[in-house]
């Protein structure tokens, strides 16, 4: 029999229409009926009577169960139909993609511009998302991270202050809301042994630290309360990285001894490799805090230097815990006496650890994320515009296709396939942009950016990118597809339809307006940040930051347990440094401005003697003679500290200018006396007033400061910052200065080497980070909207060639025609600018916390952006306008 079907391998030209479910069922019914009839006839032919034959035929088809047989056939047929549909759609997709590819290849210029634009938008947003996601959206990498809270004391002006051990002790005993509470402080031991001595970043933690985070060691055990007491066992837990690096991943490490700062510590555990220590990402080992419980007022137990974290008991809400802590803070009990500077009178600040870790960077990151969404939108608008312009050129093609029977849905699908394909190509290239972007972000990131290690392109980011690509493809293609398909169906084959050209032009005009508006929002934001940064850098820091080299010198080991030995070392180091050629002046200070140091003590003036609560929080600096000269901090009154202010001599202090003005308005502070902390009889006489210095950050208002000589303080600080005024480039001096310190004692660690200009820059790093990104995006937005304006005007000039020709034939001057085109472009720009300004006013609200010294409605910024946009669009208009003015009337008229 002849082959009735179609040979495999031969493509069907006319597809069989797909069948509905009802149709599939009806076919099965018909087949069964036909079979029954044939069987019945067959039986009748063998001599059965018709009724019996029919009954027998039915019986053979299952009899009572014929319904089941029928169902079986239905199901099978429906499944087959499903598969045909699927294959059909795959086939169509294949066709569409091939067709789309062909049409993209035919217009390489268009494809290139569109793909690059999309790659920029998709790549930038993917890169930013990968940076923002682990910080803002992903939960911290701990079990039930929402239960981990950070608790802070309340400092001057409502700021967050680290807690004292006394406060921790009281809360740990009195609070019932937590499974574990723990305090932690930085620790930088030097490890010695078989290999090179190495300075490590670590933490001293109370016993509950790892329980509070919820991550146990992978080897060995966590700290127990028995580890964490005065003169407790010297035990340490290593990070996975340190264990691999320093100990070769030795599985028998637990129980072994390591030498840290001349002491033998027993390793009791190793943390898992996935453990992320968000409170101190660089920490590589941990040891118990081992504070005493004597609580003498001048002991370290009452210093604000511990970070407190707690894990809520299951079922306890954060509000409940905050309420309980507030109640404890309000009601001191005799068993837990407090000191005036940790009286908890202003309560405690409670926040989730997640919020706490992202506290400083959240505004900048959210702003940056918003900016990239704007950029992506602009990129989309631009590509939409390109597609519209292309759609206008392809009107003839669509008309032919629809005349050949392609329905509107088919045309729309075809065009959407094209735009999604563009987006996919843009996405692939965008991944390259994203990878580069992520690297740039990590380099640019402000020092305070948490979870830096978690920033990379991972599965979540890819899903995000995929989503963006799909969405972009559809969004970008929808309007052009709808328009083009309408044109294709509506106006048939007449090429030059003025009516549809009108709608095209107005849609494209609207899109350009949107583009300009978005660019205005980005540029205004960038402008506000730029001006903030300028203001910030023009803030007087209070000293001469140029040609200043800084580094922290630490003492390590038991021979420095005695104060006088410690001080001798610093003195000798200073002498050695001063002898280095190129060093103009040098001094040590216990805390370095703008370095992150924040050492605050309670100060009590003698004149407030009868008011025991009149304690002032002030920054305490222990500085060697020559500090003010080296820093060039001006003396306002009295004298500076000098070599005679030593232990045993009359105790003297300097205070800063704003402190003096606030406490002694109109009076003279010289000769007044004060003491630190509780009244222990150690009075200091104010002998001088010096200029204000920015300590915590450039933006913060001035805080009070007190300067003492190191040997007149209660103890000699074990780590001091060296400031060196150089004759030449300060950074170049660093190796020599380091060598000079090591010439005194080669085992003393030197860390945080930086020039003061670097520290000043870091102090503004977060704003600068936001600024760089906004600037980059702003420029990209400007270029994109300029090309948008250019594209629309060129298209419009090309379409109106005839009209322009007629006009000039009728005597319109070149100037008139030039004005015609420029006016069209400028109208779009003006509309965009107006809408964009409204948007910028709204968006600037989100930037407020990043601004400094500039109002969010700063007129200069807004005017500058308007001028910039008008200028750039003027340039973008000029080329098409010039082209229009050159239209030769005779050629234009003949073209029709």
């Amino acid at each position: 029999m002849a082959d009735r079907g179609i040979r495999p391998g031969v493509h069907r030209i006319f597809r069989l229409p797909l069948r509905s479910k009802a149709r599939v069922r009806a076919d099965v019914d018909e087949e069964l009926e036909s079979f029954l009839e044939a069987r019945t006839e067959h039986l009748i032919a063998r001599g059965m009577d018709p009724a019996a034959a029919r009954a027998e035929a039915l019986r053979r088809l299952g009899g009572a169960t014929v319904g089941e047989v029928r169902e079986y056939l239905y199901d099978s047929a429906l499944r087959r139909e499903e598969r045909v549909r699927f294959r059909e759609s795959l086939h169509r997709l294949h066709q569409d993609v091939r067709f789309a590819l062909r049409s993209l290849v035919r217009a390489p210029g268009f494809t290139l511009v569109a793909v690059l634009t999309l790659a920029l938008g998709i790549g930038a947003s993917t890169a930013i998302f990968s940076a923002v996601n682990p910080i803002l959206f992903e939960p911290l990498p701990y079990p039930h991270p929402e239960r981990i809270l950070r608790i802070s004391d309340v400092g001057p002006g409502g700021s967050r202050l680290d807690v004292t051990f006394g406060t921790y002790h009281e809360l740990a005993e009195r609070s019932r809301a937590f499974d574990a509470l723990a305090v932690v402080k930085p620790w930088q031991p030097t490890v010695t042994g078989a290999s090179e001595p190495e300075r490590l970043d670590g933490q001293r933690v109370s016993a509950g630290y790892f329980r509070a985070l919820g991550v146990p060691p992978v080897l060995g055990r966590a700290f127990e309360p028995s580890d964490d007491r005065v003169r407790g066992p010297k035990v340490a837990i290593l990070s996975h990285g340190l264990w691999r690096r320093r100990f070769g991943g030795d599985a028998s490490i637990v129980g072994r001894l390591v030498t840290l700062d001349d002491n033998s510590y027993t390793v009791i555990g190793v943390m898992p490799s996935a453990f992320e220590n968000v409170l101190e990402p660089s920490a590589e080992l941990w040891a118990p805090l081992q504070y005493g419980e004597s609580f003498a007022p001048d002991s370290r137990e009452w210093g604000h230097h511990l970070r407190l974290v707690g894990r809520l008991r299951p079922g306890v809400e954060r509000e409940q815990a905050a309420g309980e802590l507030a109640a404890i803070a309000r009601t001191p009990v005799p068993e837990f006496p407090r000191v005036p500077w940790a009286s908890l009178e202003q309560g405690l600040t409670v926040s989730s650890l997640q919020d706490d870790v992202t506290y400083g960077v959240k505004p900048a990151l959210l702003a940056v994320f918003g900016a990239v969404i704007l950029l992506l939108t602009i990129a989309c608008v631009n590509v939409t515009n390109l597609l519209l312009a292309r759609g206008a050129q392809r009107r003839g093609e669509f008309a032919v296709r629809s005349a050949l029977g392609a329905g509107r849905p088919r045309l729309i699908r075809q065009l959407l396939t094209e735009s999604v394909l563009l987006a996919v190509l843009g996405g692939v290239l965008g991944m390259v942009v994203a990878e580069l972007g992520v690297r740039a972000l990590v380099v640019l990131s402000p020092p305070g950016l948490p979870r830096l290690g978690a920033i990379h392109l991972d599965a979540t980011v890819f899903v995000f990118a995929l989503g963006i690509v799909t969405l972009t493809g559809l969004v970008v293609g929808l309007i052009p597809a709808l328009q083009a398909s309408r044109a294709g169906l509506g106006v048939g084959l007449q090429q030059s339809s003025r009516r549809t050209a009108g709608t095209h032009a107005s849609t494209r005009g609207t899109l350009v307006v949107a583009e300009v508006a978005l660019a205005v929002v980005l540029l205004v934001s960038a402008g506000l940040l730029l001006r903030s940064l300028q203001r910030l850098f023009s803030v007087p820091v209070g000293f001469d930051a140029s040609r200043l080299l800084t580094m922290q010198v630490q003492t390590s080991g038991h021979r420095f347990d005695v104060d006088s030995v410690r001080y001798r070392f610093f003195e000798q180091a200073l002498d050695a440094v001063r002898r280095v050629p190129g060093v103009q002046a040098a001094a040590f200070t216990s805390q370095l401005p703008l370095s992150g140091d924040l050492d605050v003590y309670g100060v009590h003036f003698e004149r407030d003697r009868d008011r025991a609560d009149a304690l002032e929080a002030a920054l305490r600096y222990a500085v060697t003679p020559g500090y003010f000269e080296a820093m060039r901090i001006p003396l306002r009154r009295g004298r500076l500290l000098d070599a005679h202010d030593v232990a045993g001599a009359p105790q003297v202090v300097l205070i800063n200018e704003s402190f003096a003005k606030r406490r002694f308005p109109g009076g003279d502070p010289i000769g007044e006396r004060l003491h630190f902390g509780p009244d222990d009889g150690r009075w200091y006489t104010i002998v001088g007033v010096v200029g204000d210095v920015k300590q915590a950050s450039l933006g913060l208002v001035q805080s009070d400061a007190v300067y003492v000589a190191p040997t007149q303080w209660h103890w000699v600080d074990g780590r001091m910052s060296l400031v060196v005024r150089s004759r030449g480039e300060p950074a170049a001096l660093a190796p020599d200065v380091r060598r000079a310190v090591w010439s005194v004692d080669k085992d003393q660690p030197i860390v945080r080497v930086a020039t003061m200009p670097q520290l000043v820059a870091w102090a503004a790093a977060e704003r600068r980070f936001a600024l760089i990104i906004f600037e980059a995006f702003g420029i990209a937005a400007l270029v994109l909207s300029a090309t948008g304006i250019y594209g629309v005007l060129s298209g419009s000039v090309a379409e109106r060639k005839r009209e322009i020709g007629v006009r000039s034939a009728l005597g319109a001057s070149r100037g008139t025609i030039l004005g015609l085109v420029v006016r069209q472009g400028m109208t779009l720009t003006a509309l965009g600018v107006v809408i964009g300004l409204a948007g910028a006013v709204a968006a600037s609200q989100a930037l407020v916390s990043l601004l400094f010294g500039v109002q969010r409605l700063d007129p200069a910024t807004y005017l500058g952006v308007i001028a910039l946009l008008v200028g750039v669009s003027g340039v973008a208009c000029s080329v098409p306008a010039w082209r229009a003015a050159r239209v030769d009337p005779s050629i234009a008229l003949r073209a029709e």
């Binding site: 036909s34 079979f35 053979r60 056939l73």
Partner: protein, 109 residues
């Protein structure tokens, strides 16, 4: 004699290797060839046809019988032809083995 499980599919494929047929033709062809020894249930046949079609071993199209009735004509696909070949070889080997064992004479005979 009822059919052994799984053999109906092969028989249907074999039948169709002679050319496209509709369901009833297949039924009568099988009855005729086996001289009535094989009892093929109509219900089982219909199900087998659809099952084979679902597995892409058969394909079907509507046509008209000699008696002017509309019927679905089944036809082997190339996959069906290959399947038939493999199954035939498998079944032949199986039946040979079975025959050898069952035909062996024992003391009881």
């Amino acid at each position: 004699m009822a059919l052994l499980k799984g053999t109906l599919d092969v028989l249907v494929l074999k039948t169709l290797s002679w050319g496209p047929m509709h369901a009833f033709e297949i039924a009568t062809w099988l009855e005729g060839r086996s001289a009535g020894r094989l009892n093929v249930e109509d219900a089982a046949l219909m199900q087998a046809l659809h099952r084979l079609e679902e597995r892409d071993l058969l394909t079907a199209e509507w046509g008209t019988t000699e008696k002017g009735r509309r019927a679905r004509y089944y036809r082997l696909t190339s996959a069906g032809r290959a399947h038939l070949k493999a199954e035939t070889a498998r079944l032949t080997t199986y039946v040979d083995a079975l025959t050898t064992i069952l035909a062996a004479r024992t003391a009881a005979d």
